[in-house]
Amino acid sequence: MATAPNDEKQSAPKEVLLRVDSLSKIYDGAVKAVDDVSLTVNRGEIFGLLGGSGCGKSTLLRMLAGFETPTKGKIFLEGQDITNLPPHQRPINMMFQSYALFPHLSVWENIAFGLKRDGMPKDEIAERVDKMLSLVQLGKYPKRKPHQLSGGQQQRVALARSLAKRPKLLLLDEPLGALDKKLRETTQLELVNIIEEVGVTCVLVTHDQEEAMTMASRIAVMSEGYFLQVGFPEEVYEIPNSRQVADFIGNVNMFEGVIDEDEPDHVTVNCEDCIQYVGHGISCSPGQLVSVAIRPEKILLSQTKPDDKYNWVEGEIIEIVYFGANSTYHLKLTSGKVIKVQEINTTRELTCWRTWGAKAYAHWNDMAMIVLTQ
């Protein structure tokens, strides 16, 4: 799921646009919505805040916009302390969840709304609004009211409105949450393209990991008010730093076990169902309790017993979840543990040996797993 723009961002000189210093928001003296969060966002980056509901991502975004006052900590934009600036004085604009378009104003007036507040001359406003309309391909509908537009069109008006003032930072609150799945995929790319064309720096809040993966250049995984991990999408997915992150991003099979051999070039872990041979060294000590995490798509199913000492288990297929492009098989191991295996449906055969109740072997190579110590 790596996106090409990533590589550009990595090579471009980094200039910090937004810096958040140990920001906290505590409600009623006890509930920690955001707990001592620090982060930096570079110019031109799309930074994703990913987490379940109530993890504090929205509160953090609202503090950046100025709708909530932090209990502790500071926010700097281009080095300037904006912690105590009211929302209307911040050079930050937000695209709201379910858009919050003004229902009594036309598309044109919605986009011009922020420009008029700045006292921009009329002809400049007209020029800017027209440019925005063509940017989001809505040049045909300047006079329509929001209710006369489809969901996708409303989304584009919301984007145009939030970009019209040329903010230094754009906040996106679940930007695609209100669209259906098919439309979401095309809109995702469209949105990223427009954002990159304009070159605006973004902070994106979402609970949808696919949305975060495809759109963001860096992701912070949030839970209970703090960051579990911050990294590129590939990092967060392939090298999660904890069980919680591995579990939250995508599907994962967890094997609990004890470190047996601990060598510089490999490690073995004794699990209940098998012995895991990890093809690289990790920092641990023999006898230590660890979790070995393996993604379902990195496991292969076979009918014959693998010719290997390590990294395979035997079980019975108890559930098949068919997605069309791929299928997920639930394999019940002899210990009673159930693991998930995902395979791509490469043929059009309707019948195959992988059926309910079939005996199957699942195996994986020695680089497929992540050993998690916390």
Partner: protein, 281 residues
């Protein structure tokens, strides 16, 4: 079979309810065209009492006074009700908010007699100390505005509650100062609620007899007060005529507004359907 009997039952039930609601009014309209001086005995049709109404200057001036009071008190009610609703709804964290918000709606449940009596006592003692205000138009207005504010507060609060707070945040985000948010976003979106609050408080005031009786002074009789006092002396068919005129005006207003609303609603639905049918453009 049972479906048919069900339908018959439902229909007759409906007819019963509507008859209960509207038969008295129809009777009143019918007898307003009666020539006889006796209210309940039909002689023959005539417009005699409408003629009498035009010449009944007492009744006409009472109607005009009622309209004036209703209009002014509705304005005051909507004004104060909107601001109290706004304060109670938007500023959620101040001491005593719960107490204040329940106090704002007590006039709704308090018997009018008690509200009227307590207002009268207060006004009499104020007048005793300050020589002001004289009981009359102003005191009736005060009473009606007090009651109306409570009603307007309820109407506006419910609209504010269902309004998306994000609209106001979006306005702030786009550079509005707090007052501009109210002027450019909240107020325009509140207009339908303000109109219905106005109509409701107007009707309440136009209809009120209890508060007016307590608070009026010599020379200030509202229409309901006149009707009430005449009814005590024996019914006069002029009352039927004035009532009929009122009914006609009110129903015309109600029918027009509901036709307008359903037209708007249909138009909106059609436009929304249209927006989704050619979304690929």
């Amino acid at each position: 079979m049972s479906q048919v009997s069900n339908r018959v039952f439902a229909k007759s039930w409906m007819i019963g309810v509507y008859a209960f609601l509207y038969l008295p009014i129809i009777t009143l309209i019918f007898f307003s065209f009666n020539d006889s001086r006796l209210v309940t005995v039909w002689s023959h049709a005539s417009l005699r009492w409408y003629g009498a109404l035009v010449n009944d200057s007492d009744l006409i001036s009472a109607v005009l006074l009622s309209l004036e009071i209703a209009f002014l008190s509705a304005l005051m009610s909507v004004f104060f009700g909107t601001f109290s609703a706004f304060a109670l709804h938007r500023y959620t964290r101040f001491k005593g908010r719960t107490l204040l918000s329940s106090m704002a709606s007590t006039p709704l449940v308090m018997p009018d007699v008690i509200v009227g009596l307590s207002l009268l006592l207060m006004l009499v003692s104020i007048q005793h100390w300050l020589g002001f205000p004289q009981r009359g138009l102003f005191t009736i207005l005060l009473g009606h505005a007090l009651l109306g504010t409570a009603y307007a507060n309820v109407v506006v609060t419910s609209r504010l509650r269902e309004m998306d707070i994000r609209l106001e945040e979006a306005a702030m985000d786009l550079g509005c100062k707090p007052f501009q948010v109210f002027k450019l976003v909240t107020f325009p979106l509140l207009i339908p609620a303000l109109v219905s609050a106005f109509l409701l408080t107007f009707t309440l005031s136009f209809d009120d007899v209890v508060l007016s009786s307590f608070l009026s002074g010599p020379g200030y009789s509202t229409m309901p007060m006149v009707i009430f006092s005449r009814a005590r002396l024996g019914l006069n068919p002029t009352i039927n005529a004035v009532a009929t005129v009122t009914i006609v005006v009110v129903s015309a207003a109600v029918i027009a507004s509901s036709l307008y609303q359903s037209h708007q609603e249909r138009k909106r639905k059609r436009e929304m359907a249209l927006a989704y049918s050619n979304k690929n453009s």
